[in-house]
């Protein structure tokens, strides 16, 4: 009944062209990820073994394992999270639920955005000045983790604030109408509904914290340590710095070893991310709206 006109056909071809064109662009996004992972697995997988993961480096770091670096990264991430998550979530709750919209709040928001834009090497120098020298923490896990925490604070704040604001206003109003205080509303209605978004922020923070090299290089990570750290005032080795060291600083390094370190680092981040994503999906499944 309807014969396709020339215009119809032209539009159809163009539509298909763009669909394929844009689709293949999207496909290209996967390419670097696939190449990186493929290369790391191909070159790095042969060196991965129980010894590699759970023993100390020997023979000028050209042999043995990477356990001190692996443990160091885990410790740095945990201590950084302990510092930044409570602080960031608290600040976000205030900004989203309590703060009036005035010049002061706007200045704080601006400061957060600027903090997010500060290059990591500048955070590193700040960390040296503030934590290592001024607070006299020395080069230590504490100094490094606090530097990392400050660096990742904006991520936590922004993610938390956005997920708090995604909770419909009607939920809060309903709660207030029942006579609940602001805090009761936050505690029993807003936070439970926003927890998935907050976790997203934490996931992002974990990934970034584990991979950062510059902020920890001056503040707490060592080129080499013969023993494991005993407390937060000790220095530690870290995977990201270890990767830099084994790929550029040590002559006679077996070619595979840096790839192995990189593979462990990226797997660690991926595993942590997947765990958090699984938790997030589980919590979202329980959401009632």
């Amino acid at each position: 009944m309807f014969e396709a006109t020339q215009l119809n056909r032209k539009n159809k071809t163009r539509q298909r062209m763009f669909s394929i064109g844009l689709g293949s662009m999207t496909g290209l996004l996967i390419l670097p990820v696939a190449l990186i992972m493929g290369m790391l697995i191909y070159k790095g997988a042969p060196v991965i073994s129980f010894e590699f993961l759970f023993t100390s480096p020997t023979n000028g770091m050209t042999a043995g394992g990477i356990f001190p670096a692996l443990l160091g990264t885990v410790l740095l991430v945990i201590v950084a999270l302990l510092a930044s998550v409570p602080l960031g979530v608290a600040a976000a709750i205030y900004l989203s639920e309590y703060a009036p919209d005035n010049w002061f709040t706007r200045a704080i928001n601006l400061a957060i955005i600027n903090l997010a834009g500060v290059p990591s090497i500048v955070h590193a120098l700040f960390g040296v000045g503030a934590f290592v020298i001024f607070f006299k923490f020395g080069t230590s896990i504490l100094a490094a983790s606090l530097t990392l925490a400050i660096m990742t604070l904006p991520v936590v704040i922004v993610a938390t604030r956005e997920s708090l604001q995604a909770v419909p206003m009607a939920f809060r109003e309903a709660c207030w109408n029942m006579g609940a205080t602001r805090w009761q509303t936050i505690r029993s209605v807003v936070l439970p509904n926003a927890i998935t978004g907050i976790l997203t922020g934490v996931i992002l923070e974990v990934s970034r914290t584990a991979g950062e090299t510059a902020p920890i290089m001056f503040t707490g990570a060592a080129f080499f340590l013969p023993l494991l750290p005993q407390g937060v005032f000790d220095q530690t080795m870290a995977l990201s710095l270890h990767l830099f060291v084994v790929s550029t600083q040590v002559p006679g390094m077996p070619e595979q070893l840096p790839f192995g370190v990189a593979l462990v680092l990226i797997s660690m981040v991926l595993i942590m991310n997947s765990l958090s994503i699984a938790l997030r999906m589980y919590l979202r499944g329980k959401k009632k709206w």
Partner: protein, 293 residues
């Protein structure tokens, strides 16, 4: 409140991990050791070996360059600073103003090798020629100026590889070869001894300088003469020890005051036969006549 339970379990796990990692009872003593990238691998080897000598002492090793190490000593954040150049008067003064008293220890010698690509036909080079290549105002731009043609080097232009300016290797090369003149503009400044060797190894047109210890099988080291046409000396541990190689330098460790206690023991061990055999094994010349069997 299942959510609260879950949260507390998470926190509990986190703190448990922290406690396990930080467990262990014995009183341990940490020596902070930071500085020269040239010395960092030796420092690492010393730290690793010292575990068998005194398991209670932990030597934390970091790199960053001689300047970084000396700055840390001035700030009082390290016990031992590694340096491949001597401390400057300005730095000594800064340290004194900060209540630190840098004391110099010679822990070994390093021959600075002039590295060339494996295919480069050049065998000998003089200090003057090096200055023509590296110094500001130097006239050598092409390999032809040295009378050679380098296969695989497209326009025969010399690719000049140098180091970043807080490196002790950079400072020593400037002093010993350029007579404290500035470097030419347009040098490739690498951030590590090994990076120089890696680049020269892959670049037919390149020339670079770096510690002898970083030599690989695929790279060529020039025989260095004091004067053009004069007799040249190959870089080696032996020629660095006897002083016949023209660009060999002492390697230093600086402590705050005469070292005592664990730092003193560690410094003595480094200067002992055992410590000096480790530096020899790493490709540097020992500071004493070491008997390593």
């Amino acid at each position: 409140m299942p959510k609260r339970t879950r949260l507390s379990i998470l926190l509990l796990l986190a703190s448990a991990a922290l406690v396990t990692a930080c467990g262990g009872g014995e009183q341990r003593q940490v020596i902070q050791n930071k500085g020269s990238d040239t010395l960092v691998n030796v420092a690492q080897a010393w730290a690793e070996a010292y575990q068998t000598v005194n398991p209670v002492v932990v030597v934390a090793v970091s790199g960053g360059g001689s300047g970084t190490g000396i700055a840390a000593l001035i700030n009082g954040t390290v016990d031992i600073a590694n340096a491949s150049r001597a401390i400057k008067d300005k730095e000594t003064k800064l340290a004194k103003d900060n209540g630190q008293d840098p004391v110099k220890h010679v822990v070994g010698f390093d021959a600075l090798a002039v590295y060339l690509h494996g295919d480069n036909p050049l065998d000998e080079i003089s200090i003057e020629q090096l200055a023509e290549i590296y110094a500001d105002g130097g006239t050598y731009l092409n390999w032809g100026d040295l009378g050679v043609e380098v296969p695989g080097c497209q326009d025969q232009e010399i690719v000049v590889v140098s180091r970043q300016n807080n490196s002790g290797t950079y400072a020593y090369f400037r002093e010993a070869v350029l007579g404290d003149k500035d470097f030419k503009l347009g040098t490739r400044d690498m951030h590590g001894s090994k990076d120089v060797v890696d680049l020269v190894e892959k670049t037919p047109c390149a020339i670079g300088y770096s510690g002898l210890a970083y030599a690989t099988d695929h790279i060529k080291m020039a025989c260095v003469a004091q004067e053009t046409g004069g007799s040249c000396t190959n870089p080696s541990v032996a020629t660095a020890v006897d002083g016949s190689y023209p660009i060999a330098r002492p390697l230093f460790m600086y402590t705050n005051g005469e070292p005592t206690g664990v730092v003193g023991d560690y410094m003595n061990w480094i200067k002992s036969n055992e410590g000096q055999c480790i530096i020899l094994e790493k490709g540097y010349a020992p500071a004493i006549e070491a008997n390593c069997g």
